[in-house]
Symmetry: C2
Subunit: 332 residues, 2 copies
DNA sequence: ATGAAAGCGCTAACAA
DNA sequence: TTGTTAGCGCTTTCAT
């Protein structure tokens, strides 16, 4: 009789090797077994092209060794970097990444979190846009947010000190003689953006600087579109929510025949790899994004080992002064 | 007595709702059930904070709805874009992405492919570096390679026409009067690189151009490092394996006080988002990378629906002439 | 329409 | 050491 063609299971291997399934399992997992049986099992497995079923293993083990990661935009180099740090760190511990992109859409974010939670041992939510209390409801399993304050809720948080970074860059601009600074704001629900805006307000008040906030977003196109509003406001320096936005603005400025930093100074956030290669090289606040990814894993790992061990990591930023910022045109 | 704290299962819900597990399952999956029982089940599930176990479902279903993706470098914007197209397309069909980064290391690649295969319904290998025959051995399940010829092997392939792209850019440079072209070669095991190099050789022969190939790699640093060799060769135009490499070289050229395209013309491959924002904006061969991701999913889907339905998709490229290429300095 | 029971592929406790 | 067997959590016949 012909057998229905299906993937060989451990039962098939056991039969072919004339041993029990337990023995096959032991051989496969490197447990102590009689060499002769080991040989027979290996031969049978090879013969049948046997591959163990990861799902069955996961069910039995009660864990999948899968970590769900939600990012708002896979296209942003900053998240790629975080992903890389995360993939590197989790990989070293035998865990893999289940990646989903919410495309900055809240409903997507909610749906994806629910779905990821079904298959994963833990979740890393990158710059989540959902309200905190809603996030808290998901926090049944190990959960880490990046770049998001989590209050006293039962989750961990890894991020950077956006407030300090903004403070530093405003001081830098003030020192260069700028009295009116424009800010290209990021996504409305971004906590990082709120922090940066808050720091800008505080610093400006302390230094008696004028500030114009223009709503932009997180992409280069958003930055490009914001140019007219900025020009109308008459700022002499601009800080963008991130480097991508800064790049878009830079291109717009160049199209208008404006010199950077001669006419307008420009700074971003992130220090994405290309920032140093732009013309002029971009002054920016460097965020240790890859390290945030690593730290997120460490925090997750603590929760994996012992439920309820929450923690918060806030990494320092570093102002990287390059060619895109210079003295204010009307400075003494 | 106190129960040990563990996640509630369908059994717990069934007991609490005083129905069978089958009924709970039916309610959860929207099957026709008496409204009163539906109510009781939903109430019990909510009360217990019940969440179904995805692994158990997958085991029962014989499928995980997970697609494994292997990329050589998560940090390369080009792969982020592919990932995005893939995530978008698979997501629309209820599949998720299991992502792994081989960091351009062959051993990693091999190990990760094996691992991914254990948990996934299908695999997408992005620009794999492993030899074809080894890849063929993995092709027990649905498999798609991107940017890699697969011969008659039992897998599908989605990619771009690198050969045509290179041909077009060489013609462009020749028209501008360039007689000696430098090529910054990509990773040695990259099939795309081989294709581009082959096209360059063929075109140069036909047009009687001189060619100097300098081994670089796939990152901006690689491009930056290649500058001396290029300068020594005395080329008047350079084509880089990809935009990242071109960007590194561009920065190096600028540091040397050389003008692009005044002294040297420069072109890349990919058209990553920042390419248009560089100074000068980068002439490059645009690859429909996101679309490659979508097509990869379509090909995978065909295999998922019916084993053995292999296909090949080769998408056209488009030369995007921007400011980084111009007439040869010594042209008439 | 509902429940009892088998079984997805694997590992681990228990026996021998 | 090896085999037998129970069971991980779920869905799905098969009866009722």
């Amino acid at each position: 009789m012909y057998e229905v063609i299906r993937k060989p299971t451990i039962v098939d291997v056991a039969r072919a090797a004339r041993v029990s399934t337990a023995t096959v399992s032991r051989v496969l997992n490197g447990r102590r077994v009689d060499p002769e049986l080991v040989r027979r099992v290996r031969a049978a497995a090879a013969e049948l092209h046997y591959r163990p079923n990861g799902t069955a293993r996961s069910l039995q083990a009660g864990a999948t060794r899968l970590i769900g990661v939600l990012v708002p935009d896979l296209g942003n180099p900053s998240f790629s970097e975080l992903l890389r740090g995360l993939a590197d760190a989790t990989g070293a511990h035998g865990h893999r990444l289940l990646v989903a992109d919410s495309k900055e859409i809240q409903d997507e974010e909610r749906a994806l979190i629910h779905e990821l939670a079904l298959h994963c041992d833990g979740l890393v939510l990158c710059s989540p846009r959902l309200p905190l209390e809603e996030l808290a409801r998901f926090a049944v399993g190990p959960l880490v947010c990046t770049n998001r304050e989590v209050g006293g809720l039962s989750m961990s948080s890894a991020g950077v000190d956006s407030y300090a970074g903004m403070t530093e860059i405003v001081r830098h601009l003030a020192t260069l003689g700028h009295r009116h600074i424009g800010y290209l704001a990021g996504p409305p629900d971004s906590w990082s953006n709120a922090e940066r805006q808050r720091a800008l307000g505080d610093s400006a008040a302390a230094l008696r600087l004028q500030v114009t906030v223009v709503q932009a977003g997180s992409t280069s196109d958003d930055g490009h579109r914001a140019l007219p509003a900025l020009l109308a406001a008459g700022v002499s320096a601009v800080v963008a929510f991130n480097d991508l936005v800064a790049i878009g603005l830079l291109a717009g400025l160049r199209e208008q025949g404006l010199d950077v930093p001669g006419d307008v100074s420009l700074a971003g956030f992130d220090d994405i790899p290309v920032a140093q290669f732009l013309a002029p090289p971009l002054t920016t606040v460097r965020l240790p994004t890859e390290e945030v990814g690593r730290q997120a894993w460490e925090l997750l790992r603590e929760q994996l080992q012992q439920a309820g061990r929450h923690g918060t990591v806030r990494l320092p930023t570093e102002l990287v002064v390059r060619g895109s910022t210079g003295p204010a045109p009307d400075a003494p």
